[in-house]
């Protein structure tokens, strides 16, 4: 059970040096979830990883069109649900067409979305106005 309410919004330039900041926020939030009964250290790593992967994904999609672009990340925890939204201004992509990596024939790329899908409970990528939104949900019970 976790009924604390946390809301975080961060806007960063599309530069990889900010990945650490975003990942660390997720890690710190996980460690503050006193009522989370699962493995808090693992959750902290997973949130760090998922935020890092989602943000680099947005940076890659945004920078292509505008180097002074920004990425907006929101993190909301309400009752037992953690909700992450990452907004980019790029052309977007079809999340459903991203293939699962062949773990028997490992390649250098293509693991980011796999991590998000594997470690979280739901992932969607939709167009909202002039943005694309990657929405990630994790149930904290």
């Amino acid at each position: 059970m976790c009924d604390s309410i946390i809301q975080v919004e961060v806007i960063i330039p599309t530069q990889t040096k900010y990945l650490d900041l975003i990942g660390s926020i997720g890690e710190h939030i996980a460690k503050k979830l006193d009522e989370f009964s699962g493995d808090k250290e693992a959750l902290a790593y997973h949130l760090n990883l998922v935020l890092t992967e989602a943000t680099i994904n947005a940076i890659k999609h945004g920078t292509m069109t505008n180097p002074s672009d920004t990425v907006r990340i929101t993190i909301n925890i309400q009752e037992n649900e953690l909700n992450i939204k990452v907004y980019d201004h790029g052309q977007g992509f079809d999340l459903e067409s991203v293939p699962l990596p062949d773990l028997d024939q490992p390649k250098e790329g293509g693991m980011g979305i796999f991590f998000i899908r594997t470690l979280m409970d739901s992932v969607t990528y939709t167009r909202q106005g002039d943005c694309n939104v990657l929405e990630i949900i994790k149930h904290l019970n």
């Binding site: 990945l19 693992a42 940076i59 390649k107 250098e108 980011g112």
Partner: protein, 112 residues
């Protein structure tokens, strides 16, 4: 990226002196390993004691090193991995690709 290089027991040991390997510094790691291999140091042990976080690009950089070393009849092995970092290798099954050692002594016993 903060990397130290030592020749120990005939192996090239690459100490990765970073807490975090992500898309900001993984390109540098990949290039550093490739540079070693191209100059003939094809048997490398990456010592990851200080690394507490790795993302998909970091795994990719190490996998690139592994493949490049193997292509020259060498090997990239890993040592001193923290548990959470090791769990990423397990999740992607890369623990079946790399030889992963608890510490450098174990690595030398098997690789040197």
């Amino acid at each position: 990226m903060n990397l130290n290089l030592e020749k120990i027991n005939g192996c090239t040991v690459l100490f990765i002196k970073e807490e975090r390997i992500d898309a900001h510094n993984s390109g540098e790691l990949k290039e550093a390993i490739l540079h070693l291999i191209e100059r003939g140091d094809v048997n490398i042990i990456a010592q990851l004691e200080q690394v507490r976080f790795i993302d998909s690009s970091g795994l990719g950089a190490l996998l690139s090193g592994y493949k490049n070393a193997a292509a020259r009849s060498g090997k990239l092995a890993l040592a001193n991995m923290q548990q959470q970092v090791l769990s990423m290798f397990e999740l992607t099954r890369l623990n079946r690709v790399f030889d992963i050692y608890a510490d450098l002594n174990e690595a030398f016993d098997n690789e040197a």
